[in-house]
């Protein structure tokens, strides 16, 4: 599963995929202006590239309507040493970023911002993972990849399943997702992403010192991380119960009842925070409840039908998958 560590690439060579939040609706409200933010990030990337001559950076813009690769240090032509104002790669990146924002704006169709102003994190994560897969397949020699999400927008619930899939895929390929969240509230998505993949989640308190956070926490390669004490999440927000379930399946005890519903109780888990899981129906915090055996939604009491996926539970419905899928088809039609 894990790529064989290459011998020629030392273990301190990194491939850093930076997901840059370019959601205009977020940045127009943020306490930290985008210009400041981007200069912190550029300085960090520059520092990162100087840490090892083989280090590689790929920047993906996470827009409001689209996302795209805006910079890849491996394909950049090394040449002149910049204009004096900034290194040449920075101006290249900014140029691409500007083009991207224009493209993103053209895709904007709907009227003034309805709903939640979230950016396309799921898309950007998928692109990053695709890139990493391509690197894995390019041969035995490749740097150690990791993903860094520089994010500020709110979580977009409609992307929930897609994001969780990306997270599990990253976990599967052993790619840590680090996240640095500059928004107002904590991002449950990114907390989970970092927790599940073994990355670092950080919400900087002092945005003016962003560069310091980035270089202190995220600059070191994965090999050196083993020897470092990095910030740990004090409380991971496991509101998204689906992930909780998959994540802690080993710690949970769940029992199948004849009705095809599974009872769970959280105990002996290494995390006491997960006890704040809430039911889907009344949003009560529960210790013990029912889980839909098909889609893993949590309920505080027995329901005849799952409100999330429409599976029908009942006395006749045995827990085998075939019958429940039949039932669902019937209920769909």
């Amino acid at each position: 599963m894990a790529p064989a560590p290459s011998k020629l690439y030392a273990d301190d060579v990194s491939l850093l995929l930076v997901l840059l939040d370019t959601n205009p609706l977020f940045w127009s409200n943020c306490a930290l202006p985008f210009s400041k933010f981007i200069s912190h990030v550029l300085a960090f990337l520059n520092a990162f590239l100087r840490l090892h001559q083989l280090n590689q950076v790929v920047v993906i813009a996470t827009g409001y309507n689209s996302c795209d690769y805006i910079y890849d240090s491996s394909s950049a032509t090394s040449g002149s040493s910049g204009t004096g104002k900034m290194p040449v790669f920075c101006s290249k990146l900014l140029e691409n970023l500007e083009e991207f924002v224009i493209r993103d704006e053209q895709l904007e169709k709907g009227g003034p911002g309805g709903g939640i102003a979230s950016s396309l994190l799921s898309g950007a994560l998928s692109m990053a993972l695709c890139y990493i897969q391509r690197v894995f397949r390019s041969g035995p020699l490749h740097p150690h990849p990791r993903i860094l999400c520089l994010h500020g927008s709110q979580d977009g619930p409609e992307q929930y399943v897609a994001i969780m899939n990306s997270i599990f895929s990253a976990q599967h390929s052993m790619v840590p997702i680090d996240s640095c969240y500059v928004g107002a509230q904590n991002s449950a998505f990114l907390q989970q992403a970092s927790y599940i993949t073994g990355g670092v989640y950080l919400k900087p308190q002092l945005l003016d010192g962003l560069f310091q956070y980035l270089s202190t926490v995220y600059a070191t390669d994965l090999h050196s991380r083993g020897a470092l004490q990095l910030p740990k999440s004090v409380g991971v927000d496991f509101r998204a119960s689906y992930a909780t379930f998959l994540l802690l399946i080993a710690c949970l005890n769940f029992w199948s009842l004849p009705s095809g519903i599974i009872i769970i109780s959280y105990s002996l888990s290494p995390l006491s925070v997960i006890r704040m899981s809430r039911c889907f129906c009344h949003k009560r915090t529960i210790d013990m409840g029912y889980i839909c055996s098909v889609c893993l939604s949590i309920f505080c009491k027995h329901h005849k039908k799952c409100s999330t996926c429409g599976s029908v539970f009942g006395q006749q419905a045995q827990s085998d998958v075939a019958s429940s899928s039949n039932k669902r088809k019937m209920s769909d039609s």
Binding site: F34, K85, E108, G113, I116, A162
Partner: protein
């Protein structure tokens, strides 16, 4: 109580296959009577309950119809098919009561009459699987010992929750036939005692089966000579004498001995039956036999490639051709037998039974071959196309129903809104504030920022040293604060830090609590007195674990106390909620019965 009577429409079956005679079942007092609708029908029934020794019934929810099976003291049984499960349950409870009453003096009823679990009967195969599972999984064994032998759960209850496990084990066992060993029988090495010239061969029925299969002539000889002409001991002595002659590769000596002893000659000559079979066999290799690699395949590490033979001494004189057997003969024959697989499915006990069973299977094979001789080629083709060799298949998973989530927001949206509310923020307010900014303006603003950076360049210095120091301090503080927190580190388990005995104790308690709770919760809602008794038993067992946990908590060294108490607390909480439920249910029950009493009084 028993004086009441029950009358239900049923079908009476004399055996499971019997379609059944429709009629009416009447149970009253101590008699069971069945009156068929068709008065001419022969299957009338009128028996005393005293002759009924036990009862079984099909479970609701299984795809079987509601059957009640009463066993009588002659070993026979009466099967009644009911129209519905409630009907059946009424009759079952009635029968249960009567039997419990009348069965007490007879003492033939099972030891614990209140624990008659439905369908307690199991066959030996299933029992074997259970034993195997217990032997392989020491944790399961511990649990089984504690709960089943401790009398908290019955055997059937314990295994009912592990159906998957049993099925998997059972499924594995049945499908592929066991093949012969790859090692050749000529490798059976004699044991010498070193002092005398005597050598001892130890033969197991398995080896004998292989010898018979590989050497039909020996098989033939065994069937005709033993025990009429010679004892089994003599037979095998002669056989190994012949084998010895072969191994010396002295065809001349072999010919000389064969001339003296006609029985020995059989072993020394080429096998006629073999030659006959050979051509047919080549066409009928069964692709489904599992030729599992074993030690015999490891020829590269064994001297002489593991084949007990000396090819150096070869004679090539034509008159001794008959008595010469080459290594190639042996290998080919062995390969053929291995490919054929073991068609004999008897318990490998005595030599005689092995010999006879092999003969039977050969006959059956021959019969099959004759009838299907023409379709041979086609059969082979079809077989190779249809047979899936299990070893080589991807793991067979259950059919998968794709997850169809109508709206992924359901997963998160409500939770999010709720959390925001708890944090004291108004989600609507923030949304409004956001939507106040026109998206065009926002995009414009962003572009402006970018071009600003482009023209001005990076800030210099990027971070003020005051800010940087503050960040450092904050990070260092955070890290030192979270470093020793228990259970917050994702990759480390708090359990790993505990002393191994404590860890084991906790894990064991955890496993048994889990098992007990599983049974406890699945017993609700309590519908029968059987479940009622079970819940009582479970509750009793759980309350015994409770103080044991306290004990652990007290006994651990001080530096682990915190971790252990966190773990123990969670187990206590799980138990507490079970007790709570138990008490609440108990109260509800007593309230109900009070009401009933009051109602009667009024």
């Amino acid at each position: 109580m028993a004086s009441g009577h029950v009358m239900k429409r049923v079908k009476y079956k004399t055996s499971v296959k019997d379609p059944g005679t429709p009629g009416v079942l009447k149970m009253s007092g101590d008699r069971i009577a069945f009156i068929p609708h068709n008065p001419n029908s022969a299957s009338k029934l009128d028996v005393n309950f005293r002759s009924v020794k036990g009862h079984k019934n099909t479970k609701e929810g299984s795809n079987k119809p509601p059957w009640l099976n009463l066993t009588n003291d002659q070993g026979g049984s009466y099967i009644f098919e009911f129209e519905s499960y409630p009907d059946m349950h009424i009759c079952r409870d009635y029968v249960g009561k009567i039997i419990a009453k009348s069965g007490e003096p007879a003492k033939t009823a099972p030891a614990k009459p209140d624990m008659i679990a439905p369908d307690e009967q199991i066959n030996t195969a299933e029992l074997e699987v259970r034993i195997k599972l217990l032997r392989e999984d020491s944790e399961l064994q511990k649990l089984h010992k504690q709960l089943v032998i401790g009398g908290i759960l019955t055997e059937a209850e314990f295994w009912a929750t592990r159906k998957r496990l049993l099925e998997r084990e059972y499924g594995n066992k049945r499908k592929q036939r066991v093949g012969f060993k790859s090692a050749m029988i000529s490798d059976i090495k004699p044991a010498t005692d070193g002092r005398t010239n005597r050598v001892t061969f130890s033969l197991t029925p398995e080896i004998i089966l292989q010898i018979f299969a590989e050497k039909p002539a020996v098989h033939q000889a065994f069937l005709s000579f033993v025990p009429n002409k010679m004892t089994e001991m003599d037979f095998w002595t002669k056989y190994f004498r012949a084998e010895y002659l072969h191994s010396t590769k002295n065809a001349i000596a072999a010919a000389a001995e064969a001339a003296e002893d006609e029985e020995l000659a059989i072993f020394l000559k080429h096998d006629d039956i073999l030659a006959e079979e050979a051509r047919r066999k080549i066409r009928r290799v069964d692709p489904t036999v599992n030729i599992e690699a074993d030690q015999g395949d490891d020829y590269t590490h064994l001297p002489d490639h593991g084949i007990f033979c000396d090819e150096a001494k070869e004679t090539s004189e034509p008159q001794y051709e008959l008595y010469k057997r080459t290594l190639a003969h042996d290998i080919n024959r062995h390969a053929a037998v291995v490919l054929e697989g073991r068609s004999v499915e008897v318990e490998l006990e005595g030599t005689k039974t092995v010999a006879e069973a092999l003969a039977r299977s050969k006959q059956a094979e021959a019969a099959n071959e004759d009838s299907a001789a023409n379709a041979d080629q086609e059969w082979l083709k079809r077989l190779s196309r249809l047979t899936e060799i299990e070893d080589l298949q991807a793991p067979h998973n259950h059919p998968v129903a794709p997850l169809c989530i109508k709206d992924p927001r359901d997963y998160f949206d409500s939770q999010q809104a709720n959390a925001v509310k708890i944090l004291g923020e108004d989600p609507l307010g923030t949304a409004k504030r956001k939507s106040a900014v026109n998206s065009n303006e926002a995009f414009g603003f962003l572009r402006e920022c970018i071009s600003q950076v482009k023209s001005v360049g990076l800030h210099d210095p990027i971070v003020k040293s005051k800010d940087a120091l503050q960040v450092f301090n904050a990070l260092a503080h955070d890290i030192s604060r979270t470093k020793y927190d228990v259970g917050k580190i994702s990759q480390e388990s708090a359990l790993d830090k505990l002393p191994s005995t404590t860890k084991e104790q906790i894990l064991h308690h955890w496993a048994s609590i889990q098992e007990l709770l599983k049974h406890f919760w699945s017993s609700y809602p309590i519908t029968t007195s059987y479940l009622y008794a079970k819940v009582d038993r479970l509750k009793e067992a759980m309350s015994q674990i409770y103080p044991q946990l306290e004990e652990i908590k007290k006994s651990v060294p001080a530096n682990h106390k915190q971790q252990v108490s966190v773990l123990v607390r969670q187990m206590h909480q799980a138990l507490d909620s079970a007790f709570q439920h138990y008490d609440a249910d108990q109260q509800k029950r007593s309230a109900k019965s009070d009401q009933r009493l009051n109602g009667m009084r009024e």
